[in-house]
């Protein structure tokens, strides 16, 4: 490292600012974006949108450098706690050789220029991500077009780092570094190959010259954009693979972080809307009596919008008080499903109809029926999981201002371009007349992939014409949204004379995403039939953290455990014996078992369960220890081993595993949305319980780092093994097999 790289920030600022003024350059500098990013991107147009500060130089779509030598990474993905903003910047900064203490993150505007091409590509055509280099520009162009058409600015699927991070942010950083070096080489009259970059400084040893990046930012923007910048090999990483501290945390400990619900509109008086949706999906408000509410203080407007009632008032509390005073009657529901028992009956009917061979086969392998016939031992089991509410701690909310044929929206969303289109459609406006600002989210978990609450807010805003902030009560959030679906799954299995699982027959009712969630392909099972027999869902669907894995992992890994016990084998040994063809899975399972000291007998009254899953590209095994001495389950420990290929920020990855485990255990122990008269019964955190500090076990996480180029996700993969590992632990402790969730009420 060069001494000049330790140049104090104030000094760098002084002479780089002068350099900027001399050059007379502000934002701008149209450049092509390299391979893997987007050829032909209109950077010149982007300048005014993202680099309007004094002395800011946009180097390419994804980063700018200001006169104080601060690098700002312009990040397209949304931040909901998963840490993507910071890690994406970390990846860009590493390739740029930037000083992490001088890196900032900016949320990319809600603009078609920032569609997440590579994420779209992973979702719609995973095979093309291994395309040869010469095809890259074609694929990128195609998927950028698809992305723009499909409003592809999405944060979900544990995908940000492994798609946008790997294939956009790193390339943007590397290309910018090469451009800065090129500019310095020209100015200094030295070969580019002799220039060293580190900590946002350029230096040339032989001549003794050195300068902060800021000095060459304007000249760099004039350079040709390298089409294939050289990316670092893992051995050269300085920031990637380290616990670089998250850029968003300081604002989250002093109260200054701004969430959607905190929106203020400069110079405008805010009004507030409280809302009540119809209690049963698909019904309408038939009659409303708002006479008492009208007279209440602060009330500005009362709206009956058919599928919901809204009260707009000077304060949110006044709006909610007035709403509480409104009585209403609703039209009759069409759905025959009125209770959770009805919902289960609908599932059972679909599965009965499918029988052993019916429904649609998703995975078929070998000859299951024949293998089952000759099996030495057979077993069968039926499992169920309930509906769940996402319950992010920041309730659904959106602030809107609809006026003069335009609409401006401030809301936490995982899909800002969908939100823009949905609002435009609801208002009869063109997309260009709708502006969406999306601050950080107080949790998403899939709930904010939906735009229902944004549409609701703009309909209110259309009626008011003045700025209004709509906030859902916790009761609305628990009862009236979209839900992780309930599901039922039936298995039968056959063991051969040696106790090996040779036949596996499974049918379930819910198939949403991703398809591989219904399988355990890493286990070597010769004869398999996995089928779906779809059944009516009463409550609307929304993706929930880990989506189908959230139910399927419980079903599959519970059944594998039952098979192990039926075979008279240790559950770990039974699984390891089926992992001959999956060495990475085997290593992960062995690691978790070693962390838990699996072979040692737990204390009296305690049991240990194990589960292995692969989701969103990451392999995760968890061992759960449960204490049943009080007669009720108390989870004491979770040991988690994970192989994401490579963890870009190991501490951040561990934080996501810890969170996923708590999320999974919360659902397993307590999570249940049940139906009565067609409506959700639960309403707030007293009857929809979330795990609290006093219930939270000790959690140990270890990462297996294989330096793989293909990365797995972080946000979701920690969740799936938690429920089956807990259920299997309870069986180990007291012999009670859990076949339905949630667990806690079964021991009440």
């Amino acid at each position: 490292m060069n001494d000049m790289s330790k140049l104090p920030r104030s000094r760098a600022a002084k002479w780089t600012r002068r350099g900027f003024i001399g050059a007379g350059v502000l934002a701008g500098g149209a450049l092509l974006i390299g391979v893997g990013v987007r050829p032909g991107n209109p950077v010149g147009e982007l300048g005014p949108k993202v680099a309007s500060g004094e002395g800011e130089q946009l180097i390419n779509s994804w980063l700018k450098i200001d006169a104080d030598n601060v690098v700002t990474a312009i990040v397209p993905h949304c931040e909901m706690g998963q840490g993507a903003h910071s890690v994406l910047a970390q990846m860009l900064a590493d390739e740029l050789d930037a000083d992490w203490s001088l890196v900032k993150v900016m949320q990319a505007p809600t603009d078609g220029s920032y569609v997440v091409t590579d994420t779209i590509r992973m979702f719609v055509a995973a095979g093309t991500t291994d395309a040869p280099d010469w095809l890259e520009p074609t694929w990128n162009g195609l998927f950028t077009k698809i992305g723009r058409l499909a409003d592809g600015l999405i944060t979900g699927g544990s995908s940000s780092i492994r798609t946008t991070g790997q294939h956009t942010m790193r390339i943007a950083g590397a290309a910018a570094r090469q451009m800065l070096v090129g500019a310095a080489a020209k100015e200094w009259g030295v070969p580019a190959s002799e220039i060293v970059t580190a900590n946002s400084m350029l230096s040339h040893k032989a001549s003794g010259k050195s300068a902060p990046y800021a000095q060459f930012a304007a000249a760099a923007a004039e350079q040709d954009m390298p089409q294939t910048p050289k990316l670092k090999a893992p051995g050269d990483y300085r920031l990637m693979g380290t616990d670089a501290p998250r850029t968003d945390i300081p604002a989250k400990v002093n109260g200054t972080a701004q969430f959607g619900i905190d929106t203020k509109i400069s110079g405008q008086t805010m009004t507030y809307a409280a809302v009540r949706r119809v209690p049963v999906p698909g019904t309408r408000v038939a009659k409303m009596d708002a006479s008492a509410a009208k007279a209440m203080p602060g009330v500005l407007q009362i709206l009956n919008l058919g599928d919901f009632i809204a009260v707009v008032a000077d304060s949110y509390w006044q709006a909610q008080q007035a709403l509480n005073g409104i009585t209403a009657e609703y039209t009759a529901a069409e759905s025959k499903i009125r209770s959770s028992t009805d919902q289960s009956a609908a599932f059972a009917a679909a599965l009965d109809k499918a029988g052993d061979v019916g429904g649609e086969e998703v995975i078929g392998k070998g000859k299951v029926a024949e293998a089952m016939q000759v099996a030495a031992k057979k077993l069968s089991a039926e499992y169920q999981a309930p509906y769940l509410a996402h319950a992010p701690l920041e309730p659904m909310n959106a602030t809107v201002w609809v006026r003069d044929g335009k609409c401006e929206i401030w809301t936490g969303t995982q899909v800002p371009l969908f939100a823009r289109s949905a609002a435009a459609k609801a208002l009869g406006l063109s997309k260009d007349d709708v502006t969406v600002h999306h601050p950080i989210m107080g949790g998403g978990f899939g709930r904010r992939l939906e735009t229902d609450y944004v549409i609701q807010a703009v309909r209110i805003g259309q009626a008011t014409g003045y700025p209004v902030k709509m906030i859902w009560s916790r009761e609305e959030d628990t009862q009236k949204g979209l839900f992780r679906p309930a599901d039922m799954s039936r298995f039968s299995g056959g063991l051969d004379a040696k106790g090996r699982l040779v036949a596996y027959n499974n049918v379930f009712t819910q198939r949403h995403d991703p398809q591989e969630a219904c399988d355990c392909a890493f286990y070597d099972i010769p004869h398999k039939s996995i089928r779906v027999a779809e059944a009516e869902l009463h409550l609307p669907f929304a993706a929930f953290r880990s989506v189908d894995h959230s139910q399927q992992a419980f079903f599959i890994e519970s059944f594998i455990d039952e098979a192990a016990h039926a075979a008279g084998r240790d559950p770990l040994e039974f699984r390891l014996a089926m992992l001959g063809g999956s060495p990475r899975h085997k290593a992960v399972l062995e690691k978790a078992a070693a962390m838990a000291n699996w072979g040692a007998k737990p204390a009296a009254g305690r049991g240990r369960g194990i589960a292995l899953t692969e989701s969103f590209g990451s392999i995760v095994a968890e061992v759960v220890e449960v204490d049943m001495t009080s007669g009720k389950p108390r989870v004491t420990n979770v040991w988690c081993a994970a192989d994401p290929g490579f963890a870009m920020n190991p501490d951040g990855f561990r934080n996501q595993m810890e969170g996923g485990i708590v999320f999974g255990l919360t659902a397993a122990l307590h999570g249940e949305i049940s139906l009565k008269d067609g409506a959700v019964e639960q309403s707030n955190f007293h009857d929809y319980q979330l795990m609290r500090m006093n219930e939270c076990p000790a959690i140990a996480v270890e990462i297996i780092n294989g330096n793989h180029e293909k990365l797995g996700g972080a946000g979701e993969p920690g969740l799936p093994p938690a429920a089956p590992a807990l259920a299997n632990a309870i069986f180990a402790a007291n012999g009670k097999r859990i076949r339905a969730l949630p667990i806690a009420k079964q021991f009440a």
Partner: protein, 165 residues
Amino acid sequence: MVKFTINGQPASVEADPAMPILWVVREQLGLTGTKFGCGMALCGACTVHLDGQPVRSCSTPIAEAEGKAITTIEGVAGPEGELSKVQQAWISEQVPQCGYCQSGQIMAATALLRDNPSPSDADIDAAMAGNICRCGTYVRIRRAIKVAAGLEPAKGAAQTGEQAA
């Protein structure tokens, strides 16, 4: 007219005496660090200190603040913005994920450590069980409280982590 101090500054507001402190603080005083989570004192996101005692501001009427001192997350740091030990530990242990509950968590932890400078795990459970973190950062909150209490060394936010082989 209700009179009180907010983060050391005198304040007076015209509000329905039944209006919860939460909405006065957020909407009238513009201090949005205190969060709305449940409205029924079940989640702790709205925790503030009233004369030093942690209270759920979503369920405490502003009338109860008459003549008292309200402290919110914005008032935890020193006059020059220097972070409290609890806030520093929240950074060194990289506690927050979405961050929405963390104002309330920090207010609860601050009150705990003032009354009990060396809390046991059971003390932490008792003091913090009213604060939900949907992201599930409890193991880090627990560690950060111990770090702030000097019971455990800070991990150090800038530390370079080794990945397990």
